[in-house]
């Protein structure tokens, strides 16, 4: 059939934590790394407002996804030292498992994995000079399950986790991620099934770095405007350093989706900085 829907969403853990006790407990740890961020921590009311706005954005994305009636959801995300460590870091990785599962606090996730689509992308890449790493066992983590909790809470369709290294230097370039997305689109358009794609992560945040707690909201707004204008292709010319400087390394996951949607305009974008760590961003495209 074709690629029928594309969405992108932040995966920040605090999106899925309950405002109040859970959020505060989690953040106590965060503040040990980023004492400065504690001074701007949101009140309970502000946490609840953030949660409501995120749920609203996820609701729009979910309606959009469901209306497209996909048979499979490709999930482009980064590993954060769950499946990969310094002994072996793949730049791009395709999951060839039968099933995938993971846990986030009391939430458990279990999906079939569409390994046939994974294999098709892998083989297409090998013919075109993109040599994905691949493997048959992965554990899902917050980078996938936070958005999936809102977008695909029941495992009605299989997913296909695709990993991009946005986490351990050296990272791939925005252009390379865009090219990977174009390849996925070519494969998707040659398949009989209806395929949707989700990119997760971002927007601006500095996890684990001395700048943890900063959010470059201005840069994030620029990115989202470019998406609404359908000029994602121009972001492939950005240097990796431009993204990193703004805390947008995980936007590399979004670059894959931009390669897949080409010049389509994002139909809507949503943005809410959480005040303490991350600019939560959301977008969806009609194809």
């Amino acid at each position: 059939m074709a690629l029928v829907a594309a969405v992108a969403a932040s995966h920040a853990p605090n999106i899925l934590l309950e405002p109040g006790e859970e959020w505060e407990e989690f953040m106590r740890l965060h503040y040990r790394m980023a004492p400065g961020a504690a001074s701007s921590k949101p009140s309970l009311e502000a946490q609840q407002k953030l949660r409501r706005e995120a749920e609203k954005a996820f609701g729009v994305l979910r309606s959009h996804l469901e209306a497209a009636k996909p048979d499979v959801l490709i999930v482009v995300a980064n590993d954060q030292f769950v499946n990969f460590f310094f002994n072996n870091i793949p730049t791009f990785f395709i999951t060839l498992a039968d099933e995938v599962e993971g846990q986030f606090t009391r939430h458990r996730f279990h999906y079939r994995n569409h390994k046939e689509l994974g294999r098709a992308i892998l083989e297409a890449g090998l013919k075109k000079g993109i040599d994905f790493a691949f493997g048959e066992r992965v554990e899902l983590q917050h980078t996938q399950v936070v958005p999936l909790h809102f977008l695909l809470p029941e495992p009605k369709i299989p997913i296909l986790p695709v990993y991009v290294n946005t986490w351990v230097d050296p990272l791939p370039t925005p252009e390379r991620c865009y090219v990977v997305g174009k390849l996925i689109r070519e494969v998707a358009d040659g398949e009989k099934e209806r395929i949707a794609i989700l990119a997760t992560g971002g927007l601006s945040h500095f996890p684990g770095s001395p700048r943890i707690g900063e959010i470059d909201a201005e840069f994030d707004h620029q990115l989202l405007e470019i998406l609404r204008e359908g000029k994602g292709r121009t972001l492939a010319d950005y240097s990796l350093e431009q993204l990193q400087q703004a805390g947008d390394s995980e936007f590399l996951n979004w670059m894959v989706v931009l390669g897949a949607v080409g010049d389509a305009k994002a139909q809507a974008t949503y943005y809410m900085p959480d005040q303490v760590a991350t600019g939560w961003g959301f977008a969806h495209w009609t194809l």
């Binding site: 989690f26 106590r28 040990r32 790394m33 310094f86 846990q103 606090t105 684990g208 001395p210």
Partner: protein
């Protein structure tokens, strides 16, 4: 490359605290014994004993692994953070 290689063992120790329940249990019970099989330098061991994630990051630990030393800290042992990855 030098810096990356020299902090490998430190990152490995922290990664094991994150991903290997037996390693975590061992470190909670006996940090000195748990550290001994790893090729850690004196400064790294000192920072692990002190449990300061920001100091570990300065020594070359990835910032998001450095955090896992707080699993040994009584204030944080049952923190909800560890119930997700």
């Amino acid at each position: 490359m030098e810096a990356l290689m020299s902090s490998y063992e430190l990152n490995r120790f922290l990664f094991d605290l994150k991903m290997n329940p037996a390693a975590l249990k061992g470190a909670v019970a006996d940090l000195e014994g748990a550290m001994s099989p790893y090729g850690l330098g004196d400064e790294e061991k000192k920072a692990l004993r002190e449990g300061d994630p920001r100091r570990l990051r300065q020594l070359g630990a990835h910032g998001m692994l450095a955090l896992y030393i707080l699993r040994l800290h009584s204030e944080f042992q049952s923190n909800i953070y560890w119930q997700q990855k």
